[in-house]
């Protein structure tokens, strides 16, 4: 029997849980499985978790009224799931994996109720079978038992009766003391296949008679492909086709993308890549051939010199306070660069387009339904004729919320009906044609009281995308907002989105205020968090576990930061040392309140990973442009942490019982300000730009 799209119980008592998300290694399949299985009292050993096919059945209410779907889904949990849909519509409606939403939205509002409904149905089915009152029956380990008679039956043996029972519309959920799986660090189900090479990523797709393609984009964003001389390349071994690709229509959150590109199709990835590099191609610069990082930042700097033109948050009257006689004003401005996601798996898609108007895609996508729609649009196919096979992803971090590389593969395959084609971007193409974390400048102006605490807070920045500039601190008058100043650079969400840069701005500035006031930066924050008890508790825990205040050797220092993102509150204490002019991060201590950790070890892993992802960016990450082109090309000049660079990362969890927060992204935001503040503690140097650089004496002199 199928308890509607989410849960299937088979006659042999095996349970399959279908989830409308992808597990990119964050452990969400395990966590979502735990939530459903706990509520249904399933035997964890019998549970498997699969990604739901890219089908509307899993994305909106349509299935619930009885669509058979790809799985032979029966009619069903309309009443149970009806209330769920609006709450999870944003994420589930797109089958989107992003926004740290899997557990707190889908898990909480779909998986748990579906599991609880299934449990109620099996109890009812056993009651019917035995002619006993349901109130005398218990469920545990995928079995219903009747204690006084000793009767016992598996869920699998009950499926025929269960199929005749209407699931309850508001199943009772467990209370925390009844949990058997939630809150336990069960081993992640995706790990065994990731240690023996059997995990399949999109780039691993192999099909009979398939071809391999490589691509080269116009190096300037918005540039043109003027001419291609392919005569020599078509004679190279294994090369079969040279194709030009039109601009990909705007993808999510980056309407401006649209490179033109040339593709070589061959019988091996390496041959295709060699051939595409050997092509004689004339690219035109289009309108952006003079674009440079310096010119963009100059524009941003000018833009943010005014008060906010669009408000994110406004309370009181900052102007009145700042203009009052004798007001003490403190100002600073900060800058953050473009960043590429640089997931370890280069972008790749295999597509097969048939003459009969059907197509199949082998992808690694955070938005498989959107990929299906975009390919159908691009090729003029019906969406229901496009079948999407989603795979494990070698890192998402937001880059796979875009479908540009998927549409390209489909366009190539459409030129060769019946032949599957795998398009693989080189690392160079992946880094130079990203959807970058936007660069931004943020300017602060505050009025502080006699003790140096802010009483009015003005903050203006460019390139707005979320609410990350809000502050938790008790400042009476606030005006936070932005000026719309962007640049023609493809951009999009990068792990933690705006939270990847605003906490660097706000938490560095707060640190500057604390130091200007002569107050310990931790104590200063704590005083301003009197009315934010969850923030205060997280800050206190990070400070305690991070040995805040204990002596450190000369040249070393600690920095602290706290920030709320995706429903979770996180704080970090970083310890750094400057050795021979190099910043060395020795230790990072994180505290997080995510409401409740569903799988504590997976939460620890996510916060560790989020912190180190942020640390790579804070220490080295910078995409720069000159002549309209990205200057970086591979890991030698877009560096990432190696073992020797990576500090130990400790994670301490607060199970506050508050609404569930995400964990995939909140580990990232605090790293940059924590290490920048630690650098100040160690050296007195204030880093107002990312990546954080230690100023050498020579550099300081030449800047002066």
């Amino acid at each position: 029997m199928v308890i509607k799209t989410w849960i299937k119980v088979a006659r042999d008592n095996k349970v399959t849980i279908y989830v409308p998300h992808q597990d990119i290694g964050q452990g969400s399949f395990t966590g979502l499985g735990q939530m459903a299985a706990d509520e249904m009292d399933a035997d964890w050993a019998l549970v498997s978790v699969l990604e739901a096919p890219a089908h509307e059945a899993f994305a909106n209410g349509a299935m619930i009224t009885g669509m058979a779907g790809d799985l032979g889904v029966s009619d069903g949990l309309l009443s149970t799931l009806g209330f769920v849909i609006p709450k999870v519509a944003r994420a589930v409606g797109l089958m989107l994996t992003g926004g740290s939403s899997s557990i707190r939205a889908t898990g909480q509002y779909a998986m748990r109720p579906a599991g609880a409904a299934a449990r109620a149905v099996f109890i009812e089915a056993a009651a019917k079978t035995w002619n006993l009152p349901a109130s005398e029956l218990q469920a545990a380990n995928s079995r219903v038992t009747h204690a006084s008679s000793g009767k016992s039956i598996t869920y699998g043996e009950l499926i025929d009766t269960a199929a005749t029972i209407t699931p309850p519309s508001s199943p009772r959920l467990k209370t925390p003391e009844q949990y058997t799986l939630i809150g336990k660090s069960v081993p992640r189900i995706d790990i065994p296949e990731k240690v023996n090479g059997t995990a399949k990523y999109a780039i691993d797709t192999r099909l009979p008679e398939m071809k391999y393609a490589a691509i080269r984009h116009s190096p300037v964003f918005g540039g043109t492909l003027d001419s291609v001389d392919d005569a020599a390349v078509l004679k190279m071994p294994g090369v079969t086709r040279v194709l030009k690709l039109p601009a990909t229509k705007g993808t999510m959150m980056s309407p401006g993308d649209g490179d033109v590109a040339v593709v070589v199709v061959a019988n091996n990835t390496w041959r295709a890549e060699n051939a595409v590099r050997a092509l004689t191609v004339n690219f035109g610069p289009g309108l952006n051939g003079n674009l440079s990082t310096a010119s963009m930042f100059a524009g941003f700097d000018t833009a943010v010199s005014t008060p906010p033109k669009k408000d994110l948050h406004k309370q009181g009257d900052v102007g009145k306070v700042m203009n009052a006689a004798g007001a003490k004003i403190v100002e600073a401005r900060y800058r953050a660069p473009f960043l590429d996601h640089a997931g370890m798996e280069p972008l790749s898609t295999t597509a097969l387009v048939r003459a009969d108007g059907t197509a199949e895609l082998w992808v690694g996508s955070q938005v498989p339904l959107m990929a299906r729609g975009a390919v159908a649009d691009a090729l003029g196919l019906k969406a229901e004729n496009v079948l999407v096979h989603n795979h494990r992803m070698g890192g998402g971090f937001g880059r796979r919320l875009h479908v540009d590389f998927i549409v390209q593969a489909a366009r190539v395959a459409a030129e060769m009906p019946g032949t599957p084609v795998k398009l693989t971007w080189s690392r160079e193409e992946s880094i130079q044609h990203g959807k970058y974390r936007p660069a931004s400048v943020s300017r602060f102006k505050t009025a502080v009281d006699a003790e140096g605490y802010p009483v009015a807070w003005e903050n203006v920045y460019n390139w707005h995308d979320d609410d990350a500039a809000k502050i938790p601190y008790g400042v009476a008058d606030q005006h936070i907002g932005y000026v719309e100043a962007t640049a023609p650079v493809p951009n999009g969400p990068w792990r933690s989105v705006g939270h990847s840069r605003h906490p660097f701005f706000t938490e560095s500035f707060i640190d500057e205020l604390a130091n200007a006031a002569g107050v310990d930066p931790y104590a200063y924050r704590a005083k301003l968090l009197t009315n934010a008890p969850r923030h205060r508790a997280v800050l206190d825990l990070a400070a305690e576990k991070g040995n805040w205040g204990s002596p450190m050797p000369k040249g070393s220092g600690r920095g602290i930061a706290v920030h709320e993102a995706f429903g979770s509150i996180a704080a970090q204490v970083a310890e750094v040392t400057v050795v021979n002019g190099e910043l060395k991060v020795n230790r990072i201590v994180c505290a997080i309140d995510c409401g409740q950790a569903i799988n504590p070890d997976a939460v620890v892993a996510q916060v560790q990973g989020g912190a180190l992802y942020g640390l790579s960016a804070a220490l080295y990450g910078e995409i720069t442009l000159a002549g309209g082109r990205v200057e970086q090309s591979n890991f030698h000049d877009y560096r990432s942490l190696l073992l020797q660079d990576a500090p130990a990362v400790e994670v301490h969890i607060i199970n506050s019982g508050a609404a569930l927060g995400g964990v995939g992204e909140p580990g990232t935001p605090c790293v940059a300000p924590a290490i920048a503040n630690a650098l100040f503690a160690a050296t007195g140097q204030r880093a107002r730009e990312l990546p954080v650089k230690v100023q050498t004496a020579t550099a300081t002199e030449s800047a002066a």
């Binding site: 790990i191 023996n196 990523y201 780039i203 370890m344 070698g394 693989t424 890991f635 190696l642």
Partner: protein
């Protein structure tokens, strides 16, 4: 031209250009996709395999230069309980992988190090295992190696 290779104990004849990197012979010509393409310039280590037990970056090794038997992630645990090498078992125990893409290369690099130096220091690990992991599994890699060094 034709090359005679021994891969995971099995003899293979491959007829390709001599400068084709071993990585692409493994992935596209033979179908052993557990060895990953990450950067193509030998910077990330995702393509690490063993030749004669020595960890090498297969994207930088032309097939004509291969002298000795090749072991890939698919063959690392051959003949062991559950077909898993002790490093693979330690990886499961420490719950190391996240996205998993770089892990084949990391495991191969660590297995080669431990074969020569069963109790590596932190410094040995740092100088030998220079793979990139974007998910940030670094702490758990160290924990898994420490557990193996004690065992």
């Amino acid at each position: 031209m034709a090359f005679q290779l021994t891969i995971n104990g099995r003899a293979r004849e491959i007829d390709v250009e001599g400068d084709m990197p071993l990585l692409w012979v493994l992935r596209d010509e033979i179908g052993l996709t557990g060895t990953k393409f990450g950067c193509g310039i030998g910077a990330c280590g995702a393509c690490t395999v063993h030749i004669n037990g020595e960890a090498i970056r297969s994207c930088q090794m032309p097939v004509s230069g291969v002298a000795g038997p090749i072991t890939t992630i698919e063959g690392l645990g051959a003949g062991q309980a559950d077909e898993l090498h002790p490093v693979q078992k330690a990886w499961v125990a420490a719950q190391v992988p996240q996205c998993g893409y770089c892990q084949s290369g990391l495991i191969m690099a660590v297995a080669s190090l431990l074969a020569k130096n069963p109790s590596p220091t932190d410094d040995d690990l740092k100088t030998t295992v220079t793979n990139i992991c974007r998910c940030g599994t670094h702490d758990r890699v160290r924990a898994a190696v420490a557990a193996l060094a004690k065992a």
